[in-house]
């Protein structure tokens, strides 16, 4: 019987992390921005395969990396949220619990499976004006190994996080109107995009968690609506 070579746990983890990072670095970026009316999620994406999706009444999901993997994560999240909301109440499905659940799943795959998930995700929760302690928005970023961080104002995932973040750090202001937020988001994504021409409405996927909507806050904007927002 042949013995496998000994590889230290540190080396295994470092190799996995390196592998996942490389996979993610090839992808485009996504920004989530808090603005006056809620949260805006914007991805550079001209295909019909969405990177941003609805999880629950006030929760949205965005993923970069391998489509099949983050889409599977999104579906797992929807199943988890709907089951929890059914067993308890709709108000009991909260962003932090959701982000923790995602972090557990991703961490579990990272340690147990040979191949880690080549994805990074955002969980966004828009605040609820009815409850004193739910008013503020939450943004969580979860990495391929389950590492979770929370962010104020904006959050970026994808291949060119630093370039995109630099623009946002300089120009982000709290309580911006929707048009300003959309233009800032596009400018930030431009900084991370390889081409020199500006991103048009048709190559942007934009979704909102709109505070003012009754019930489900998530809405996906059509190309015309995105254009309208950028021009406003």
């Amino acid at each position: 019987m042949s013995m496998p070579f000994y590889v230290s746990p540190e080396q295994v983890m470092a190799d996995k992390a390196e592998f996942a990072r490389k996979g993610i670095a090839r992808g485009k970026s996504i920004v989530a921005l808090e603005f006056r009316g809620g949260i805006l999620l914007m991805a550079e994406n001209s295909t019909s395969l969405s990177k941003v999706g609805e999880i629950y009444d006030r929760l949205a999901f965005a993923g970069v990396g391998k489509f099949s993997e983050f889409d599977q994560l999104r579906k797992v999240g929807v199943r988890f949220a709907d089951t929890k909301g059914y067993a308890y109440s709709r108000e009991d499905v909260r962003g932090r619990g959701m982000a923790n659940a995602f972090s557990q799943v991703m961490g579990e795959v990272f340690t147990r499976e040979i191949k880690p998930l080549e994805v990074e995700i955002i969980v966004a929760e828009v605040g609820d004006d009815r409850y004193e302690d739910h008013r503020s928005n939450s943004l969580y970023r979860i990495k391929y190994d389950g590492f979770i961080s929370d962010h104020k104002g904006f959050c970026v995932i994808g291949g060119k996080v630093e370039e995109v973040e630099t623009v946002l750090k300089n120009d982000y202001r709290p309580d911006m109107p929707a048009g300003d937020a959309a233009r800032l988001g596009r400018r930030a994504l431009n900084a991370g995009a390889e081409r020199s021409s500006e991103l048009g409405a048709s190559s942007l996927e934009v979704c909102l968690l709109d505070r003012s909507r009754p019930g489900r806050k998530f809405c996906r904007l059509s190309t015309e609506e995105v254009q309208g927002m950028l021009d406003s």
Binding site: G53, E54, V76, Y86
Partner: protein, 263 residues
Amino acid sequence: MPFRGSYQGSSFFELLQIEKRHLLPDLAAWGRSAVEAVPHGTTVLAMRFGNGVLVAGDRLATAGHSVASRDVVKVFETDPYSVMAISGAAGPCIEMARILSIELEHYEKIEGERLELEGKANKLSQMIRANLPAAMQGLAVVPLFAGFDTRRKLGRLWKFDITGGRYEETEFDATGSGGLYARESLKHGWSRSLTREQAIKAAVAALTAAADEDRATGGVDLERGIFPIIKMCTASGHTDATEAEIAACYREILAARAAGGNL
């Protein structure tokens, strides 16, 4: 929350059946003894009008010969373009309406688009079929399902039997203990080209007729201010008949009755 659960489809009801069995009570195990003890909902009706549908239900629930609740809700918006009305054992009925509305939202989130109206009706029929063992014990769920078909641009409605049999109606239908009387009334009050106001009037008349003949149906309760729920569903989504509209229709009926009319 596992990354690859044992269920990978887009149905919430199947997800519960396969992965969360404990959240779906086994009603059949209760046996016949439960039937008298649980509240039953009574009369609900649905009709086509103009380019939409109207669904209405009284508010009474009975347990045996007693009133269980005077203001129970039997008409539910299951998504922006569909309505479900229930008659039968109130507990399982209300739960089924709740699961159906989660089901439709769940499908939309997983798949990225809404089910067709016919797909929604079909899903409901599968859920009723799953309840068959309990239905055989007397805990039947016999709903009406109606909505606006966004592809065909018209209102459609279905009735069901306890085996999940699904029958599309082109005019109107009513079920529950007072359903027979409501149908009789609608036979006179309904016509192909009703306006919204006329449809509301026909619905109030039908529920009043049912409440008159069937002791388990509530009708309009002016003293307590309890009104039937009347929902319309058209291309622009849902609207409710206001209490004032319903009260006005009902007062007309009362006035005609007081004047010696045969209403």
